[in-house]
Amino acid sequence: MIRPSRGLRGINARELWAFRWLILTLTARHIQVRYAQTLLGIGWAVVQPVISVAIFTVVFARFARIPSDGKPYQVFALAALVPWTYISSAVSTASGSLSASSAMVTKVYFPRLALPISYIFSSLIDFVIGLALLLSMMFWFRIAPAASSVVAVPFLVLAMMLTATGVSCTLAAFDVEYRDVRHVVPFLLQAWMYASPIVYPMSLVPDKFRQLYALNPMAGIIEAFRAVLLGTTAVDWRALAVSVAVSLALCVFGLMVFRYRERVFADVV
């Protein structure tokens, strides 16, 4: 039945499931295309964080003398950069996913959510490689992750993906019509990065502002990620709870906006 829709629409999970092959194939395509015709190939997923860590170490540890909760700054920074790189790569690719595939959007029907979602998945490849890099660096520095991290890391990854989904879907829904979004995204990501405990520890934030600070979902998630893997501090459960709640809310909000705008995508893209 095809008829005009009104108001807010829910997520059609059954349809998304029916198109799971498309999501998988798109995800595979992004990964294949990303490193096509490059010399280093997937090696870029290693080179980029290594260089960032080197720069951060010089600028923030040596010059600015920012504390790193008693761990080597390189590991400290990398442990945060791994989840952050995921967010940054997922948001920057997924937010432009609809306008980048405008030919597909105007010529074929498929659940439009498949496009941003496929980037949410494909960006995980960098995360996995980054995580491997982090683990080897931890081994080098003789830092053992807490046993609880086996449970905690997947949970944090899920929260991180929810955050990325919420932000990307909102941005993607507007990017279809307003290409202003692509100019906003780099600034947004930069501001967001400095608003997250990446180059500095959350312990620098005064106690009374912690809850407020944790409204940035990545703050609680990154700090918890670092706490379970490196044992820098005890997990700040209250901050984590606030962050996860915000990431859930963001995800629901993003999906609603996306579904609301979806009906005009093919007409305005």
């Binding site: 039945m1 095809i2 008829r3 005009p4 829709s5 009104r6 198109f19 092959w21 498309l22 998988l24 194939t25 798109l26 595979a28 395509r29 294949q32 295309v33 096509a36 015709q37 595939s101 030919a103 597909m104 959007v105 105007t106 010529k107 074929v108 029907y109 498929f110 507007f174 019509e177 307003y178 290409r179 202003d180 906006v257 609301y260 705008r261 009906r263 005009v264 093919a266 007409d267 305005v268």
Partner: protein, 434 residues
């Protein structure tokens, strides 16, 4: 008794003027929208372009791309959708394939829908043919097992062969299109929606596509087929609807509807049609321009086909030539080319050994071709005006306007569409080798 496969009821689609990409080159920026939102606070940024926005803004700024479209299609029927460019055909197909939502009315489709609105949608240049087959197939709604099962068949049909593991950016355009069509053609939905796929590819491949579409139709699947190619429409469709300005203006047997379309001159593109002065301002001219073609008119003697050119019929072409001074020219020619630009007919005054006198200002000249030995199809008229066989060339237009050659007899068209030249022939047993 067949079941209803597709049914639409008072289907309508309205666009805000400037909203479609065709009419608006530059997208509105966020600031423009914010300013508009401040001026009219009840129109939210979220709802821009939404169904409700147009009402509040008043009806002046909207156009109806489709209005009150109701029809019913039985299972196994092959419906042709014809009409001029911009009549609303593509909008209808887009609604039926759920790419865009209707503004009002509803449609109901029974069964899996496959739409082929453009060949090769979603092909990625950096991926190999194999990877693209899988990608394209899943976009069309197939699952991987289904594609794997048909994979060899698809490659075979496309004729891409060993190049299947080469990135498609290294493919020729022909290979690209063939592979894409092969994927789509092997996807077997109950209802198939096809838009102008035959506009691409070489003649051989087009024939293969038509044959494949024939199979699909004969297999009892329901097909909606949009094309400007009347021959393909007549060959494939049992029934046609004619759309003009968003409304269905005719619905009936293919022969009746296509005849009406041709007769009413619907077949003309923006600047073409029999017995109509076609102004040559916007086409590409070469040459000095001291004498130049200003407009042309063509037609045949047959009113039942709307004075279109027809196979083995005559063709008259009248030219309006504007000259800066009186001039005697040795070479005035009208050519008829195929879609690849191959010259099939060259009616050049040089061959007759006559020269033509042009007055200062406007001169009208007429060409009479007694018999046009061209099979039905779309050709292109070209024009040439030169001092003698070569320099100086005053005016040269490679593509002045399209020329539709139609079939007068209405005989089995499939047998006549191969080859460009029509001839008379017979077959008999040879008694001995010559």
């Amino acid at each position: 008794m067949s079941r209803t496969a597709v049914r639409t009821e008072r289907l309508g689609k309205r666009y805000r003027i400037g909203q479609t990409r065709k009419t608006r080159m530059v997208q509105p920026t966020l600031s423009e929208t914010l300013i508009a939102a401040l001026k009219a606070p009840f129109v939210s940024v979220l709802d821009r372009g939404g169904a409700g926005a147009a009402d509040r803004r008043g009806e002046k700024s909207v156009i109806w791309a489709l209005e009150n479209v109701s029809f019913e299609l039985l299972e196994g029927e092959v419906l042709g959708v014809i009409g001029r460019n911009g009549a609303g055909k593509s909008t209808l197909l887009k609604i039926l394939s759920r790419i865009t939502e209707p503004s009002c009315g509803w449609a109901e489709i029974d069964g899996r829908v496959g739409s082929l609105l453009e060949v090769g949608t979603g092909f990625h240049p950096d991926l190999t043919g194999r990877q693209n087959v899988y990608l394209n197939g899943t976009i069309l709604g197939m699952d991987r097992r289904e594609i794997a099962r048909r994979f060899d068949e698809i490659v075979e049909f496309s004729g891409v062969g060993d190049f299947i593991d080469t990135p498609v950016k290294r493919y020729s355009t022909g290979m690209h299109v063939r592979l894409a069509f092969a994927v789509a053609a092997h996807f077997e939905p109950e209802v198939m929606i096809v838009d102008e796929v035959l506009a691409v590819g070489d003649a051989e491949f087009q024939r293969k596509c038509l044959a494949k579409m024939d199979d699909v139709a004969r297999a009892g699947r329901t097909v909606l087929f949009v094309s400007h190619n009347m021959n393909a429409i007549q060959r494939l469709c049992t029934r046609c609807i004619l759309i003009d300005q968003g409304k269905i203006v005719a619905d009936g047997p293919t022969a009746d509807v296509t005849a009406r379309y041709l007769a009413e001159g619907f077949a003309r593109t923006v600047k073409s049609g029999p017995l109509e002065w076609i102004v040559l301002n916007s086409v590409e001219h070469a040459g000095t321009g001291q004498s130049r073609f200003a407009s042309l008119r063509y037609g045949s003697d047959n009113a039942t086909v709307g004075h279109h050119a027809y196979t083995d019929g005559p063709l008259q072409v009248t030219l309006e030539i504007v000259s800066d001074k009186p001039r005697r020219v040795g070479s005035l020619a009208v050519t008829v080319n195929d879609e690849h630009g191959t010259v099939l007919v060259n009616a050049d005054s040089v061959e007759l050994g006559v020269s033509v006198d042009l007055r200062r200002g406007t001169t009208f000249l007429a060409l009479q071709i007694e018999t046009l030995h061209l099979k039905p199809g779309t050709y292109v008229i070209g024009l040439w005006l030169a001092e003698a066989t070569h320099e100086p060339v005053y005016d040269y237009i490679q593509s002045a306007c399209p020329l539709e050659v139609v079939d007068l007899q209405g005989t089995a068209l499939g047998s006549r569409t191969i080859g460009a030249v029509s001839t008379t022939f017979s077959w008999h047993e040879a008694r001995e080798p010559i």
